[in-house]
């Protein structure tokens, strides 16, 4: 499959502070790629480099097969969308007027406004002034703006950080639908649930370096201790190995009607992150 993003030995140093170093990864066309890391790990710096807002100190970064320096050209800007924590909106204008401006800038029909507002659950609020919206609603408008031209590649920096679970779920459904239509998504988040349900592959970024990169399933399997926890009817919890010895004991518990619940002991992505980096995702 064609790579839509290719990054090699990428580094960015601000004054004397290294934001990212020796970062290597690629994102395939049609993939949802998760960039996971705590605050200050270099996620936003990477997005800014990949969208041409920041010049790397060294290394190469290519988007659509071209150097990111070319992203200043209009024909490339039309192909990607960006949502970052500092994506601004015009507070004195309505949601509709904000999106109308971007329809004109991207040559998109105004009928698209209702479609994207529906995707972020804000269709009924389109006449509201942006300054009167809550933080979560503002974030949804910003996301709608990033979606308005149906970009080939979407950069999302913490897209659901200010949202309640219901709206997060709605946004996740919208992003999956967009991805099914062919949009590649580069997502940064520290929400492990979001990464697990959305991402095809994830990279763990810590102190500016990628520590692990794989599919969530493979990571969970490779860090699993291959045990299951059986909760018995008397309240006792028994940890059993996944092999034949564990199977025999489980059969015995089941045969005597002692089993209340059974859980596999796969670690969460958060557990793996802590194990690998020694840091919590926050």
């Amino acid at each position: 499959m064609e790579n839509i993003i290719e990054v090699s030995s990428l580094a960015k140093v601000f004054a004397n502070q290294t934001a990212i170093e020796s970062v290597d990864f690629h994102v395939k066309k049609g993939e949802i790629f998760g960039f996971l890391g705590p605050s200050g790990s270099g996620k936003t710096t990477t997005i800014k480099i990949l969208t041409g807002q920041l010049t790397p100190t060294s290394g190469t970064a290519k988007v659509f097969g071209e150097s990111v320096s070319l992203l200043k050209k209009a024909e490339y800007r039309r192909r990607f969308g960006v949502l970052t924590d500092n994506s601004g909106l015009y507070g004195r204008l309505s949601i509709y007027d904000n999106l109308k401006l971007y329809c004109d800038l991207y040559d998109v029909a105004y009928s698209k406004i209702d479609e994207v507002l529906d995707a972020v659950n804000l269709k009924q609020e389109k006449a509201k002034k942006v300054s009167a919206l809550s933080k979560g609603m503002t974030q949804r408008v910003t996301l709608a703006r990033a979606l308005i031209h149906e970009p080939e590649l979407l950069f999302l920096d913490e897209p659901t950080s200010a949202l309640d679970p219901t709206n997060s779920l709605h946004i996740h459904e919208g992003l999956r639908a967009l991805n099914e239509k062919g949009t590649t998504i580069f997502l940064t988040t520290h929400d492990m649930y979001e990464a697990e349900v959305l991402c095809d592959r994830v990279a763990f970024l810590n102190k500016g370096q990628i520590q692990l990169l794989d599919t969530p399933d493979k990571l969970k399997k490779s860090y699993s201790d291959s045990t299951i926890t059986v909760e018995l009817t008397n309240g006792e919890k028994v940890i059993l190995p996944a092999g034949s010895e564990g199977a025999n004991r489980l059969f015995e518990y089941m045969n005597t009607n002692q089993v209340e619940t059974i859980h596999t002991n796969e670690p969460t992505l958060g557990d793996i992150f802590v194990q690998v980096t020694g840091r919590k995702l926050a």
């Binding site: 010049t55 601004g88 004195r92 204008l93 109308k100 004109d104 800038l105």
Partner: protein, 235 residues
Amino acid sequence: MMISLKRMNAILQKDFKDFSRNYAVSIVIVIPILLAAFWGRMGADSIDMHYMLINMTFGMVAAFVQCCLIAEEKEKNTLRGLMLSPASTADILGGKSLLTFIITMVVVFFSAYLAEYKPANVAVIVVAIVLSSFFYIALGTLLGLYSKSVLEASVIVMPVIVIFSFGSFIAVAAEKYPILQAANYLPNLQLIELAAKVEAGAGFGDVLVEFAIILGWVIASIFLTVVIYRKRMVD
């Protein structure tokens, strides 16, 4: 550089709606008009008085409004959104300057009308005023790009308003202090010089030097603005 009239118009429409609701900035456009009405009733009809008003309009409307509009786009991170869109530098800077240009022209017209200024050669004066407005709008854009907030913008634009509004006083001071002779080449003083010549019967051919100097300021300020804008596109 590609220019899209559709995108420039979209930015103009957005700015018009936004500006009409931004009373803190839009209120300044009435000040030159009120002063003009006042001076007109007082019978102040010298070229220096008329051009103090016109240059003040350039400072308070063209430079101040433009500076605040750009600074607010920076402060609210909306300029970055425009920069990441397919709009070119010309679309964005042109679109963002159109509203200020239109307002400036309207205010200059009403101020001149209320102050009862009737130029001897309207065509020459109109060209000179339009050309001068480009310089002040570019200067406002430049200062806006340097400001981190609207508050900061409204402070750093003040010297511009003072220096360019009261050009006649600088000319008087330049006669006394030779070190200020260079100030005679400022666009506001060149505009006054040009207007005085027009009142004495000069046509386009007689004021080419003044036009050339003002044009030089326009080109230099636009060039500098584009360079700084492009630098601001990258963090």
